[in-house]
Amino acid sequence: MIKKRIGVKYCGGCNPTYERGEMVKKLQFLIGDRFDFFPYDQKDLDGLLFIQGCERSCALESLNPGKIPSFSITKETEWGKAIDWLENLNKKKGD
């Protein structure tokens, strides 16, 4: 199975409510067999994951996801929703 290429874009992290880097590590640990995570500015991405420190969601300000499907995590508890979104992305792409 070809792994999906997911770009990761962080907000600046002025006062985050959780450890954003740990969130990405957790996702890599849980679903790293199906998804690879890259910096947001890489080519040929299948999806963009915004790691927002809070609900203000500043990461979106500096980046227009355009045609690439995207999902924002704004809370520590949203890792499950992120996995659901990624799994759906996998199904839609039909691998």
Binding site: V8, K9, Y10, C11, G12, G13, C14, N15, R20, G21, P39, Y40, I51, C58, A59, E61, S62
Partner: protein, 479 residues
């Protein structure tokens, strides 16, 4: 200078600087190896390191409006209200990593203040300071050097103006004008990050009169230039940094590692001179630097306070008082005060505006209000930290006692708190509280970016009292 990118580049650049730094009467050959200075270097180094991390690049970097290149935000000229807000956010995030001052904001503010004011000087006097300064700015942005913002002169007898001082050097001034540049003499005091910066950007310390033209001076000087001498300031519990252990409290030191920087007949070429004699513009430059610097304090001190609140909450947990209602109430009060100062910094940024130069400037009244709140709230936050943590903050034995084969078991037995919490962890947190809440750290929150009275003076000028009186009279029908 080769572009400084990483923390390692920064430290190497300081090794190569060979500037004349003195500590306790002795010359320091390599500041990076000195135990009293290294914590402050490590703190400033984070301004380089964090800019390389994807989880912080949105705040730590910007795009130069002059070259279009990606630069460290500490060398950026604010191009929008959003830039002003991002500056404050950046300061809070770095403070979360250091729990201490990271020093680089002073040079950042000096760059912005000189940028916008040289434009105005040129408009009035048809000089070419702005073009000179833009060239210097590109050098700073491309090399990513760290600057000291040099404003505060020693001032001598405060009742006398610069030209009336018994010693004319108590205010930095021009002593000779030559075809290729100027010679200056004087000193700048309390220079944050002084010994671990590459250059100083000098500004006048106050409004100047016509007879003080020689004191109306702004210029940039490499800190290794002939005639520059730096004397590191002694801090509270200074010697604990030599031990480098638990008793030091915070591995990043306390506040910025301030220095007295002396200019003993220093030559400055004209291309690095940005104000020289236009005495009526000195006040504007001072006011702008002060505003830009006062804007910061709710950001960095807000972030530092976050650490102190966290440490205090842990101290309460470790000693079993966390569930007491008065402890919860006091922690809530600490958070209220921290967010209050942060709110001020965000507010003055949000209400910022464009200057004729194109650079953005925070609302000066709100920036001054923010800093004035910091002079009060940091003391109150620290008082509450002491209240919650207890007298043990001031009475703990040495780390050496904890590790002693003879008395270590007593320290572990009698400083134990809640079961399962290592005594060493409890001492670490209490030492951190001690480091962050007393002595040098408190005085810095009072006088850094200007003493409280300087903010009160600004209220008198910017507070619009006459309009307030008109509103009151109108409300009750007084003609």
């Amino acid at each position: 200078m080769k572009r400084i990118v990483t923390k390692e580049d920064y430290i190497k650049s300081l090794k190569d600087l060979h500037h004349r730094v003195y500590y306790n009467g002795k010359r320091v050959e390599d500041v990076t190896e000195h135990p009293a200075i290294r914590p402050h270097i490590n703190s400033a180094a984070l301004t380089y390191e964090l800019a390389l991390r994807p989880e912080h690049e949105d705040l730590m970097t910007a795009t130069s409006h002059l070259t279009g290149r990606k630069i460290n935000r500490f060398t950026h000229i604010h191009q929008s209200v959003n830039d002003l807000i991002k500056k404050v956010q950046m300061l809070r995030l770095i403070a979360h990593e250091t729990g201490s001052c990271f020093q680089r904001c002073v040079g950042f503010d000096a760059l912005n203040a000189v940028y916008m004011t040289t434009y105005d000087i040129d408009q009035k006097y048809k000089t070419d300071y702005f073009e000179r300064f833009k060239k210097y700015l590109i050098y700073v942005q491309d090399s990513n050097v760290m600057l000291v913002g040099g404003m505060t002169d020693p001032k001598g007898d405060r009742s006398l103006s610069p030209s009336k001082q018994a010693d004319p050097d108590l205010f930095t001034h021009v002593v000779e004008r030559r075809s290729d540049g100027i010679i200056i003499r004087g000193a700048k005091a309390h220079m944050t990050g002084g010994v671990n910066s590459h250059e100083i950007l000098i500004m006048p310390t106050q409004t100047m009169r016509e007879e003080e033209k020689d004191y109306a001076l702004s210029c940039a000087i490499p800190l290794n230039a002939p005639g520059v001498v730096l004397i590191f300031g002694r801090q509270t519990n200074e010697e604990r940094k030599f031990e480098g252990g638990i008793d030091a409290g915070n591995p990043f030191g306390a506040v910025g590692g301030e220095a007295l920087i002396i200019f003993d007949n220093v030559f400055v070429p004209w291309e690095r001179v940005f104000l020289c004699g236009e005495y009526d513009m000195a006040g504007l430059l001072v006011e702008r630097f002060a505003t830009l610097h006062r804007q910061n304090y709710g950001g960095c001190k807000g972030g530092v306070s976050d650490i102190l609140v966290g440490a205090t909450a842990l101290a309460a947990e470790y000693q079993g008082t966390a569930n007491a209602s008065h402890i919860k109430e006091k922690l809530a009060e600490m958070m209220h005060l921290a967010e209050t100062i942060y709110s001020g910094s965000v507010a003055c940024s949000a209400m910022g505006y464009k200057t004729p130069s194109g650079a953005y400037y925070p609302d000066p009244l709100l920036a001054n209000t923010t800093k004035h709140n910091v002079t009060r709230h940091i003391y109150e936050i620290s008082r509450l930290a002491h209240d919650i943590a207890g007298g043990i903050v001031a009475t703990m034995p040495f780390q050496g006692d904890l590790e002693s084969s003879e008395v270590g078991r007593y320290v572990k037995k009698y400083l134990a708190g809640v079961k399962g919490i290592p005594v060493e962890d409890r001492i670490k947190i209490l030492r951190l509280i001690e480091n962050m809440s007393g002595g040098t750290a408190l005085v810095e929150s009072m006088h850094g970016a200007g003493s409280p009275q300087t903010q009160k003076v600004m209220y008198g000028r910017l507070g619009n009292l006459e309009q307030k009186k008109r509103w009151a009279k109108r409300l009750v029908g007084i003609e």
